[in-house]
Symmetry: C2
Subunit: 366 residues, 2 copies
């Protein structure tokens, strides 16, 4: 019977789930709005205390002079790179081959801003100082994504980050942080968000990853930079008459969850342990450095899906909603720990992983 | 005492106001959300029944094959023009000198899309067929804004619209409708939205003008066109993980108010009459053709502001919140009728206009 249902269908039917904060439904917004009075005035085209107070609050958290709220990171980051390119008179930037701008934005950076990216490092590893030292092209800006999502959320050593930052400052290369998951890495580095951001000239953060808001982003840096970003925000069509549905929910869920990042990080390490103890299953990184990691299965999707479906049904616990092929004939999925994990009864978790281990071993040995 | 307060301060303190639907506050969103279940799933990057159903509903209203929800009209319209320019291999469009793209978007069309606009007609009048016939440049697309907001919301005769549409089709010029206030003009033309849209290849409508939503727009046309617009929406950073705060409020306020446009139109005509019977006050158009018009005062701002402030205070009725200089030494403001007008007691309205007439006459005769 389970074979008629897709993996995501079976996943959706389970009572407990190991990833995320909960369903992305309208209740997420309703809950946030309960904390705010109906008489609160809307922001108006980027102005008004509602947006200005939140921008000020987050600028302080990031240790930057100024911050601007954007509807999306796609918009914020293209604009950041455009400003740095215009300042340097050089339409070239460098980033990882699996950078969000390269693989998820329909080439907006190239099509709208005519900026040429230099791809640093290989797809399956982090950018190193050495890659930057040996770059042949001149660039206006280097973008680093911390953690590097598409390879399981890996992170460089803090010392290497400092060296990259120093080198860029010395060479006049602007350093931009794709910090979509910035708060999620604070526990690993044992540095504050502001300390991490001090290495960068501009910073983007997201409010719907670990924070779990509806949508929305902040771009922060010096005031001359953020003022210029507001002009581009208008040009992109992101300077809406009202952004408050996103601002209020970002503010609400930031306050609710920013203090839970240490917990998510510890839970991610625990969960990775469960996966790594299963036959033919491993995580990347082996020990997570944030709330996220990738789980890899040494069997193709067609074999893993039925196994996962039966585990989900027998344990009433969903693990991942989809699988993608990996480059070595197996498959993988992304895990992000949120509020849900802590609610799972331990016996259920152990039952599920006991089943997963047994079924993977059975199929693997055939 | 009133001289210490600005016009907008005095306006804000009045119990009754002649324009708009009400305060732009968080209650507007809370009220809309009350109609929807918390368990309703979010749209996800432009997909899911929540967004698709609304797009389908509005496509039908507009009589177009397909529709796409956008966070803003700025984004939707630049993209529409870009698509038509790409199709024709010609980066030139024509529009009115006071077109939204020319004066309110920080030149996004030029800076992001490198499209050159040809300005048709003079600032103070509508585009006529004759302007198009005598245009020297080849263009890919003509944008018409109905009503032409910046000149009081004027409209061409329907026959002239038909002639412009026929001419453009004959010449292979794409015709795009800036229909930010489309539903507001349906009563004047006595044509359905779909009939009006049938003259155009692509149509943009807004949900926070007469409809009074939070923000959001629809771009409609043939499916090949709207599919392409989704790629550009991603590039612009408008393909948010969740647009539902705007979609649900657009849907709610569309249903609530689309049937009230006739009422707003009749009230606008009544209100324009009140203004036109005052000394040294006139409206543009003299008889409104939608829910909006401009009111002009034959005295400079410095003289009109104290008059308006005392009228607002004595009648406890706010008329306009700001004044702008006009080109003939006087000043003007924009009026848009919404839900508020009908709640004003007639005696209060008559008292206010009696006061306005007397005070304008007094100052005018000095």
């Amino acid at each position: 019977m389970s074979t008629d249902l897709s993996l995501v269908d079976v996943y959706n039917e389970t009572t407990y789930k190991i990833t995320g904060h909960g369903n992305r439904d309208v209740q997420v917004l309703k809950q946030a709005l309960e904390s705010f009075e109906g008489t609160l005035n809307s922001d108006m085209y980027g102005k008004g205390t509602l947006i200005e107070d939140f921008q000020y609050k987050i600028a302080n958290v990031l240790g930057k002079e100024s911050a601007v709220f954007f509807p999306s990171g796609t918009m914020a980051q293209q604009i950041a790179l455009r400003i740095w390119c215009d300042r340097q008179g050089l339409k070239k930037v460098a980033y990882h081959p699996l950078c969000h701008l390269e693989i998820h934005e329909e080439d907006g950076l190239k099509e709208l801003h005519h900026i040429e990216p230099v791809l640093l490092a290989d797809q399956d590893r982090l950018i190193k100082l050495d890659d930057i030292l040996h770059m042949k092209e001149n660039i206006a800006c280097l973008l680093l994504e911390l953690p590097q999502r598409e390879i399981g959320g890996q992170l460089p050593d803090y010392q290497e980050l400092e060296e990259i930052s120093s080198y860029c400052r010395e060479k006049g290369i602007k350093l931009h942080l794709d910090g979509a998951r910035l708060f999620e890495i604070v526990p690993y580095y044992e540095k504050s968000a502001a300390e991490l951001c001090s290495l960068f000239d501009s910073v983007y953060i997201s409010f719907y990853k670990g924070i779990g808001g509806i949508a929305g982003a902040i771009l922060a840096g010096e005031e001359t930079f953020t003022n210029e970003s507001k002009i581009w925000k208008r040009r992109h069509g992101g300077d809406l008459i009202s952004l408050y549905p996103y601002i209020l929910s970002s503010d609400y869920y930031y306050d609710l969850r920013v203090g839970r990042m240490e917990q998510y990080y510890e839970e991610a390490k625990e969960l990775a342990g469960y996966f790594n103890r299963c036959k033919a299953v491993s995580t990347l990184p082996e020990e997570p450095v944030s709330n996220m990691f990738h789980v890899h299965f040494e069997l193709p999707k067609e074999k893993v899906e039925p196994i996962l479906k039966s585990v989900y049904q027998e344990a009433d616990l969903g693990m991942v909603a989809y699988l993608k092929d990996n480059s070595v004939g197996g498959c993988y999925s992304e895990i992000s720990i949120g509020d849900r994990y802590t609610d799972i009864p331990k016996e259920r978790l152990e039952k599920a992983f006991h089943l997963l281990n047994r079924k993977m071993a059975e199929v693997k040995s055939r």
